[in-house]
Amino acid sequence: MSELALPAAPRKFRPALTIGSLLLSIVVLTPVLWIFSLSLKTSRETLRPGLLPTDPQPGNYVEAWNRYGLGQLFLNSAMVTVGSVIVTVMVSMSAAYAFTKIPFKGSEALFSLLLLGVVIPPSALVVPLLIEMRYLGLYDNRAGLALVYVAFGLPISTLVFRGFFATIPGELVEAARLDGCTELQILWRIIAPMAKGAIATVVILMFLANWNEFILALVLLRNAGGFTLTLGINAQLGQYTSDYHLIAAASMIAALPVFLVYLVLQRQFERGVAEGALKS
C-alpha cells in the first residue's frame, strides 16, 4: 500500500536500484556459493586457490551422507523437531485460549510470568537443565530434548495465539457454550480451524528454532546415535581438516530441506517471522 513509505524513488534511479539489488544479492550469496563450490572439490583442491572446482565431485555428497551417518542425524532432527512443534502448538493453544476466554484468578500474573520466558536465554540454563534431566532420566534422550524445546517455545507461542484469540468475539464462544459444547470442543472444533494463520506462524517459528538449535542439544545429548544434524556436523569439525569438502557437502545437505520449504512457503515464512517478533 505505501510505496510512498520510501521517499518515492524517481524513475531515473530505478535502474540503479536494480543493479544495486543484484550486486547485493551476489555479495549475500557468496558464503553459500563458496561452500557449494567447496563441496564439489577434491580434498586436495580445497587447499589450492581457485574459485570453481576443476573436476566437480558430486560423489562428495554420497560420501558425506554415508561417512557422517546423515540419514540417522536427519531422522533424529526430524523426530525432535516434529514432536516438539506439535506439542508446543497444542499446549500453548490451550493455554492461550484459557488466558483470553476463560480468565481465572491469577491468570494475568501467570501470563506475565510466562512472558518473562521470552527473554530468558536457554544457554543460561544449561547447568540446572542437565542436572534436572539426569534426575528425571531424560538425559541423552531425544524426547527429553524435545520437551525442553517445548518449554522454551511456550512463551512466544502462547503470546502469538493470545494475540489472535483476543480478536475472536466472546459472543461466538458464549453461543457455543449455550449449545452445550465443552471448552475443549470449542477450542479444537471452532477456534482451531479459525486460527490457521496463527498456527502457521507458531509452526514456522518453532520449526526454525528447533531444527537449528545447538547449545541445548550439545549439553543434553551425549550418545552420537541420538545426535541432531547440527550436533552431528559440529562433531566432525576439527576432526580432520582434510575433509573440509565433505563437511561442506554435509552442510549443504543440512541446509537443503529448510531452503526447499522456504521456496514453497516464502510468504508464510516472512509473515510468520515478522509476526512472531512484532507481536511481542
Partner: protein, 307 residues
C-alpha cells in the same frame, strides 16, 4: 508427545469441571500443561541456577556442595578472563545491534522501492536467517580460512595481501569476523521486520508531508522514522538479547580463541561448567546473562514510555 495423552485425558476431566467446578477451574486446567512445563523446565532452573551460583559445586554429588555466599561473583570481578568475556559480549552486542539495525533498515527501504530485482534480494537476504548458526559458522570459517580461504584468494588476486592472513587465528580480526558472520546471518531478519513496519507508515501523513513540500530526507526523518519507533525498539531488543546470549557461532568459528579474543559470557560459562566442572562459577555467569537480558527488556519498556 508427552502432553498429547494429557490433552486427551483432559476431556472427561473438563466435563466434570463443567458440572461441579467454576469456569475458572476449567481455565486453570487448560493452562496447566503450559504452566507446568514452563515451571519445571524454565522457572525452576532459573531459581536453582541462582541458588547454585552462591555455592561451590563440582556438579557430581549434591552432598559435596558448600555455601560460598557471594564468593563466586566476587571471584568473577577479579577474573581477567571474565572481564574479557564481559567486554567482548558488550562489544559484540552493541556492534551487531547497531550494524543489524542500520543494514536492516537500509535494506528494507531498498526492498520497499519495489524496483526490479528487489524481490529477489529480499528472498536471498532471508536465506541465511533459515540456517543453523553452526552451518553459518562453518561457511564463514571456510571463507576466512588462511590457506584456500575465499577472502584471502580475493585479496591476493587484487594484490592487497601477499601472505595468507589467518583471520580467525589472529586476535586482531577474530571478533570482527564473528560479528560480520552474525550480521550476515541476521540482516535479512531485521530487514523483514523493518519492511513489515514500513507497510504501516500512514500514507496520509506522507501525503500531507508531500503537500507541504517536504524533501525526501525530511519525510524520512519526520514521518517514516517516528512511525518505526515501535518496530525499532522490538528489533533492537531482539538483537540485544540475541547478542548477549551468543554462543553457537563463536563456539563453531573460534571456541573463544585465539587467546580469549572472542571469549563471550556464554562460551566462558560453558567452559567453567562442562570442562572445568565449576558449576558454581558457571551458575554465577548464567545469572549475569539472565540479569543482563531482563535488564535490556526493562530498559526498552522505559525508553518506549518516553517516546
Amino acid at each position: 508427545m508427552t502432553a498429547a495423552p494429557l490433552a486427551a485425558a483432559g476431556t472427561p476431566m473438563v466435563r466434570r469441571f463443567r458440572r461441579r467446578a467454576s469456569p475458572g477451574a476449567v481455565g486453570l486446567a487448560l493452562a496447566a500443561p503450559t504452566l507446568c512445563i514452563f515451571a519445571g523446565l524454565v522457572a525452576i532452573p532459573v531459581a536453582s541456577v541462582v541458588v547454585t551460583s552462591f555455592t561451590s559445586w563440582t556438579g557430581f554429588d549434591i552432598s559435596g556442595i558448600g555455601w560460598l555466599g557471594i564468593e563466586n561473583y566476587a571471584g568473577l570481578l577479579t577474573d581477567p578472563i571474565f572481564l574479557k568475556a564481559f567486554a567482548n559480549t558488550l562489544i559484540f552486542t552493541v556492534a551487531t545491534t547497531v550494524l543489524l539495525n542500520a543494514v536492516g533498515l537500509g535494506l528494507a527501504l531498498l526492498v520497499n522501492t519495489r524496483a526490479h530485482g528487489t524481490a529477489f534480494l529480499k528472498a536471498v537476504l532471508f536465506l541465511p536467517v533459515l540456517l543453523s548458526p553452526v552451518i553459518v559458522g562453518l561457511m564463514w570459517s571456510g571463507l576466512l580460512r588462511g590457506v584456500g580461504g575465499g577472502l584471502n584468494q580475493l585479496l591476493g588476486f587484487l594484490g592487497l595481501i601477499h601472505q595468507p592472513v589467518f583471520w580467525l587465528g589472529d586476535g586482531r580480526f577474530a571478533l570482527a569476523a564473528v560479528i560480520i558472520a552474525t550480521v550476515w546471518q541476521f540482516a535479512g531478519y531485521d530487514m523483514i521486520l523493518y519492511y513489515a513496519g514500513l507497510q504501516n507508515v500512514p500514507d496520509t501523513l506522507l501525503e500531507a508531508a508531500e503537500l507541504d513540500g517536504a524533501r525526501a530526507w525530511e519525510k524520512f526523518l519526520h514521518v517514516v522514522l517516528p512511525a518505526l519507533y515501535h518496530v525499532m525498539s522490538v528489533v533492537a531488543l531482539l538483537n540485544v538479547i540475541g547478542g548477549l546470549r551468543i554462543f553457537d557461532i563463536v563456539y563453531v568459528m573460534t571456541r573463544g580463541g585465539p587467546s580469549r579474543s572472542t571469549e563471550v559470557l556464554a562460551t566462558y560459562m560453558y567452559e567453567q561448567g562442562f570442562q572445568l566442572n565449576a558449576m558454581g562459577v558457571a551458575s554465577a555467569l548464567a545469572v549475569v546473562l539472565i540479569v543482563l537480558a531482563i535488564g535490556a527488556s526493562a530498559l526498552r519498556l522505559r525508553v518506549l514510555r518516553h517516546v
